[in-house]
């Protein structure tokens, strides 16, 4: 059994930022990451990041990941396990993880769950055909393994992820036939939409996919215009000839471990699904269990970093490590300004219902 001050599940931007912050206060940290590398979603992001310049905006996701990883490697307070999947957290306060075919047991004084999110699916005929991918899988194929998912893609979803992945596909020399979006407007940032449009990719709002065509693999798709109630408009169906359908229809928090740990959960449409009730320091209803990043509500890397810092420093304070109170206030203020604009409105609404 390994003892530590803080165990962190997930080494995305939230987990990495938390590890550094807790270590700075003097806490010993064990960081568990399922993948063989650190960075979470960041390693797939070859585009420049939005957000506040202070939290690395303008840098590319992969470079932010490298920046954090280098600091973590140098940090003697932080012990990293990659290829390590956290399996369960039990009443006696023991965390188990599978690592390189072995089971490891950890008894942490505090726990941070920063496990991120998983992709949503939508129902349509043949959505299990090879050639139908989630956007995350497409990004991993292209940007981590350098493999093209296909030659011609239909993108479903015009949120930031759909728009950004479309752009990355084009950069990889793959054709994007169209981006379709069920809602009546583009959900992602307009600047992302404009950058795809001027490359000639149509963005069809009020459109959805009815079925994927093909026997062994995707050979086409049937799309249609829909009305405000998401019902197909008769006579507005259209075949598109593509070999790949990429779904970017949203993410939902990966919260299994929190359910299992007994945290009180609440369904929040604005935050992407079931999320834990938390206080203003990101502690859940289970004392000593903290959350940060997409698992606390689907947001962005900048907020994941800030939440990670907040959770890391709060956990350190809980264990009586000396921290700077001003730092806590500063992080909270930064989070607040980040969410202050119109695109942060749904986040503010969501948080109002889950923050106690």
């Amino acid at each position: 059994m390994r003892q530590t001050d803080l165990a962190i599940i997930g080494a995305g931007p939230a987990g990495l930022a938390a590890a550094l912050e807790a270590s700075r206060a003097g806490a010993r940290v064990i960081l568990l990451e399922r993948d063989d590398w650190l960075g979470g979603q960041l390693v797939k992001q070859t585009h420049q990041f939005f957000g506040s310049k202070n939290e690395f905006a303008g840098m590319r996701g992969v470079d932010i990941a490298t920046h954090f990883s280098e600091q973590i490697e140098k940090d003697e307070n932080i012990q990293v396990f990659t290829g390590a999947t956290a399996l369960g957290f039990y009443e006696d306060g023991v965390l188990t993880a599978a690592c390189a075919g072995r089971m490891i047991k950890i008894k942490p004084r505090t726990l941070l769950v920063a496990s991120g999110a998983m992709e949503k699916m939508i129902p349509f005929e043949n959505n299990d055909l090879p050639g139908v991918y989630g956007a995350g899988a497409v990004q991993t194929l292209m940007n981590v393994y350098g493999v093209a998912p296909g030659k011609k893609v239909l993108m479903v979803g015009a949120g930031n992820i759909g728009l950004i992945v479309s752009y990355q596909l084009i950069q990889a020399g793959i054709e994007v036939e169209a981006i379709i979006e069920g809602a009546s407007h583009v959900g992602g940032y307009w600047v992302h939409a404009s950058k795809i449009r001027r490359m000639g990719v149509p963005i069809l709002t009020n459109h959805t996919i009815l079925k994927a065509r093909g026997q062994e693999k995707v050979e086409g798709a049937l799309i249609t215009r829909i009305d405000e109630n998401w019902q197909p408009v008769p006579g507005e169906e259209r075949e598109v000839s593509v070999d790949t359908v990429c779904l970017a229809v949203g993410l939902s928090p990966l919260a299994e471990l929190l359910w299992q740990a007994g945290c009180e959960m609440e369904f929040s449409p604005q935050l992407g699904g079931y999320v834990p009730i938390r206080d203003s320091n990101l502690e859940t209803t289970e004392e000593g269990i903290y959350i940060a990043g997409d698992v606390a509500g689907i947001e962005e890397a900048t907020s994941a970093i800030l939440e990670g810092q907040l959770a890391g420093i709060s956990a350190a304070r809980k264990m009586d490590y000396r921290i700077e109170e001003e730092k806590v206030e500063e992080i909270k203020a930064n989070l607040e300004t980040l969410r202050a604009g119109p695109v942060g409105e749904h986040i503010r609404q969501g948080l109002a219902n889950v923050e106690r």
Partner: protein, 167 residues
């Protein structure tokens, strides 16, 4: 309309256009960022403080065109690829357009390219005058293209003609 299909309407564009008088004076920035989003690297990028300080990170950028000399430094710092520089008086018949470009291969100097508008439609031909791709730009190249003056305000992207029939 931006919200509908990613293409700004003439009214939306009106908000971000430098005045015609300013355009005629020489190189100037146009920042086609028309939505309040939490983003601010442009402000930090400009050495001449032509971007007014953001009161709040969600604010849309506001430009003091008197301070901008069209140096183009900000172009590669915008994650939205929303910043362009226009040099209207570039030559008698041509204006110069500077765009961020992240595709491979990069165009070469003197190469003839197809010019696209904000909807990705072909609106003419242009001639690449310069390609800037230093380490500082972090993989966003800045391509300068001379285009007929009458399409300068609509031209926003290029497509290489290499390998196509008209080649």
């Amino acid at each position: 309309m931006l919200k509908k299909d990613g293409v700004p309407s003439p009214e939306e564009l009106q908000e971000v256009k430098p005045s015609f008088e300013r355009l005629q004076e020489g190189p100037v920035v146009i920042v086609e960022c028309m939505q309040e989003i939490p983003c601010d690297p442009c402000y930090y990028a400009c050495p001449r403080e032509a971007f007014r300080p953001f009161d709040d990170i969600n604010q849309k950028p506001e430009i003091d065109y008197k301070k901008c000399n069209g140096c183009s430094i900000c172009i590669a710092h915008c994650p939205g690829l929303a910043i362009f520089v226009l040099d209207y008086p570039y030559s008698e018949n041509e204006g110069l357009l500077k765009i961020p470009y992240e595709l491979k291969p990069l165009p070469e100097k003197e190469e003839e390219v197809t010019v696209l508008n904000r909807a990705g439609e072909e609106i003419g031909r242009g001639r690449v005058v310069h390609v800037l791709n230093t380490k500082k730009q972090d993989r966003t190249a800045i391509v300068s293209v001379a285009v007929p003056k009458d399409i300068l305000m609509d031209a926003r992207h290029i497509r290489l003609r290499r390998g196509t029939d008209e080649g």
